[in-house]
Amino acid sequence: MKVLVCVKQTFDTEAKIELKDGKISDAGINLIINPYDEVAVEGGIQLKEKGIAKEVVVVSAGSDKAMDAIRTALAMGADRGILVKQDTAADEYARACALAEVIKGESPDIVLAGHVAADDGSSQVPTRIAEILGFPHVNVITAVEIAGGKATCTSEADGGTQVTEVSLPAVISSQVSWNEPRYPSMKGIMAAKKKPVSTVDAAAVANKVAIVSVALPPSKQAGIKIEDEPAVVGAKLADWMLNTVKVEVK
């Protein structure tokens, strides 16, 4: 069984976002594997360790920098990588088309990915890939069992869980609670350098969405501090809520 994991390279979640010339600047930013995709990589490696999968292939679409994300996944334990060279301004549609094209050629039994990217949060690519390839898709999974050509997935549902059975091949996108991704070991990092990584150009597909502008959220306003006896503080706070910030009481 072949598992293919889609990974996106994103900003470090602790990075300070800055705009330059109306665009998000990546200067000096530490780039990482999207943490949700990292869970998918770990899931793929665990399937291999359990003897269910024979090969874990990791695929990333983006600039040459995305090679670092692939190497990190290989250091964790994936077997092979594919870098799909694509303009970083590609939208979710163009990205899904590019990845689907590669996936078609690889014929995996399972396609894994994180259910959302930590940077743009659009949650579209895995679903679009499934649609393009005509595969079933299960989202936000927290557990998966593979047997008899089927995947039985436990997913988060509104206030509970849902168990879904799909036939393979399928696209399965993970919730972070599926597993705890491992840190690359030193031996893993060294071995990753010698694992095969191929590079292909992305299928030429035009974006369907144009970003008009980006803006940072307004900076937080300073709060107020009321110091006094509890009863007086309560009265002053109520007064501040009613008359200063004008909280509506219904």
């Binding site: 600047s25 000096g28 070991s185 030193m186 031996k187 060294m190 350098k193």
Partner: protein, 612 residues
């Protein structure tokens, strides 16, 4: 509260590897060329920050909450230490990096040391368990027979067993030549019966490895007295039979020390051969077949020199982490108004002049020590892998001269620097709820471990300054003179270079006085000044290194646009160098003046006068 791991990035490491030192030379050695280039070092460094925060830092807290105990004859270590030892050793971060096998996947020493600077900052009390295991394995790798290598190395490298070095005894510490441990020949030429007591053995016992392999100094009965007659033995806690099974080896732990700091680190007292049933493997020649001369001290120096480097390196980790914690606190803590604008609102204390000075003083020292240590680690890689014998010899010369500096300077300065980090916090710094208190407790040992800093100073003035008839040390100092006289841009660091030149002149004067004292048989005065001479040497050398870095940083600043994100790093490098050259380096000529005064008060005062 235990220390937070407060490293935010690996920028200074990248500067050292990718901009300052010519590390492409190292990454191109056949040993490393098939793997990563110097431009790819972030592959190693980036995951370490997160790993330190999430995996290692909690073990530091564990070490404080569950310190080492000795109960019913058994040592209990903090519960998280065993799993961490197994993880780091098993994943290849530790001892296996010394593996000299042809197919071993290892990283350059300089890069490995950077990884360990962060590991040690995240938990300084854990590191020695692995450092000493690496030292023990290194000795077996260098001097052991094939049989011993096969018996011990795989399990020392994969985390199944650990290692120690056993020198100190109740009646012999710095004077190791007076040890009482004895070894007696058996019917098997390589195997000796061992008898003796050892104390202060870091990692001397634990409850997480199957076996502990002690590298043990003892005198074969009949060998010469003093250090010349000492031999080195491999003494396992449990005897390893040919089939890999264990038998008892009469090694007992008699207690653990209760220390100022290092709560998670075992400092054991060990008894060997109490029941005449302890055996050890001899490394090197039998002194009884070599005119009574043992090879133990020479061999042990391989491990000890590395341990000395690691001790200075541990001190650096602690100082850096103390000041990174202080920086974060001073950035958050709002108190007082600016002297220059008293009507403004309250400000983060980092904006107050003395706090800012304290933080810059810490930063300058950290960057000087880092430059000093990693330049030496660079030389380790050259010495081990360069095909050119002349380059290897030059690298070895640098290692020889700088080892006492790398050990003693960070560990001497670390104690008061941590005091200054506490000072930056104000009252909270003195409280255990804040992290720098633990760092201060942990750091003190480093000036004592692995040869006290007085021993280091005597090594510098007695051995290193006179190596190869003084030519090595002369070249070391001449290198600084050449840096001073090299062409540079008009007006670049004028005052800083002037101070470096003044310090160099004063230092050369000091060398002349040292020579005079030595030729007048006044070695007692040399000894009185030895530690201060070491400090002056380190400050002169450190000043050269940080100024060299600052020149490079200044050049980068000239190339970068005004709004470039990386300017703050380079600006910081320049200001750290300026601070060091203008505020610390004057100590070099002060020490030179002190030596010139030839004050004999220390020699003259009678012991009885200390009664009053």
């Amino acid at each position: 509260m235990s220390a937070n791991f407060a490293y935010q990035n690996t920028r200074d490491f990248e500067f050292i590897l990718q901009e300052w030192l010519p590390t492409e030379q190292i990454f191109n050695y056949p040993r490393f060329a098939a793997y990563y280039s110097k431009d790819e070092v972030k592959t190693f460094l980036a995951p370490i920050l997160k790993m330190c925060k999430e995996v290692i830092e909690p073990t530091n807290t564990d070490g404080e909450k569950n310190p080492v105990r000795f109960e019913n004859g058994q040592v209990k270590t903090p519960p998280s230490f065993g799993p961490l030892f197994a993880k780091l050793q098993g994943e290849g971060w530790g001892t296996s990096n010394i593996d000299e096998s042809e197919d071993a996947m290892v990283m350059p020493h300089i890069l490995h040391a950077m990884v360990w600077e962060m590991f040690n900052a995240a938990n300084p009390t854990f590191g020695p368990y692995i450092i000493l295991t690496s030292g023990a394995a290194g000795l077996i790798q260098s001097f052991g027979s094939r049989r011993l290598k096969d018996m011990f190395l795989p399990k020392l490298m994969d985390g199944t067993w650990s290692g120690t070095m056993c020198l100190t005894e109740p009646s012999a510490g710095s004077d190791v030549g007076d040890i009482l441990s004895r070894a007696y020949p058996t019917e098997t030429p390589e195997i000796f019966k061992i008898k003796g007591q050892k104390i202060f053995i870091t990692g001397g016992d634990n409850d997480f490895t199957e076996n502990i392999i002690h590298l043990y100094l003892a005198r074969v009965e009949g060998a010469r007295p003093g250090t010349a007659g000492i031999s080195l033995f491999v003494v396992p806690k449990y005897w390893v039979n040919d089939d890999g099974s264990f038998s008892g080896n009469d090694v007992q732990t008699t207690g653990v020390e209760h220390k100022l700091g290092q709560a998670g680190s075992v400092t054991a007292a060990l008894s060997f051969g109490e029941n005449d049933a302890c055996r050890g493997w001899l490394l090197g020649v039998n002194p009884l077949e070599n005119e009574g001369k043992g090879q133990g001290m020479a061999m042990m120096f391989q491990m000890m020199n590395m341990a000395r480097m690691e001790t200075g390196h541990l001190a650096l980790s602690c100082i850096a982490n103390a000041f990174y914690n202080a920086r974060d606190y001073c950035r958050e803590r709002i108190q007082g108004r600016l002297l220059t604008d008293p009507k403004s609102g309250r400000v983060p204390i980092m904006k107050h002049e003395d706090i800012k000075r304290t933080l810059l003083m810490g930063k300058a020292h950290v960057e000087v020590m880092r430059a000093m240590l990693y330049k030496t680690y660079f030389a380790f890689d050259v010495r081990a892998h360069d095909p050119d014998p002349a380059r290897r010899e030059k690298a070895n010369d640098l290692i020889e001269v700088t080892t006492p500096l790398c050990k003693a300077y960070p560990s001497d300065e670390g104690w008061w620097l941590c005091g200054e980090a506490i000072q930056a916090y104000g009252g909270y710094g003195y409280c255990e709820e804040y992290p720098v208190a633990q760092i201060a407790r942990d750091i003190k040992i480093y000036s004592i471990w692995e040869g006290t800093n007085y021993i280091q100073a005597l090594d510098l003035v007695g051995r290193k300054m006179t190596m190869k008839k003084g030519s090595v040390f002369t070249a070391f100092i001449e290198n600084i003179a050449e840096f001073c006289s090299a062409p540079r841009n008009e007006g670049q660091f004028t005052r800083e270079f002037a101070n470096l030149e003044k310090a160099l002149t004063a230092y050369r004067q000091m060398q002349k006085i040292l020579l005079k004292l030595a030729s007048n048989q006044q070695m007692n005065l040399v000894a009185v000044y030895a530690r201060r001479i070491l400090t002056a040497t380190a400050q002169l050398y450190g000043a050269y290194l940080i100024l060299d870095q600052a020149c490079l940083a200044q050049k980068r600043l000239g190339e970068l646009p005004a709004d470039h994100y990386d300017r703050a790093f380079y600006q910081g490098k320049v200001e750290a160098a300026r601070y060091y050259l203008l505020n610390v380096v004057p100590n070099v000529w002060l020490i030179a003046e002190l030596l010139a005064s030839e004050d004999t008060s220390v020699v003259d005062i009678p012991s009885e006068s200390f009664n009053y």
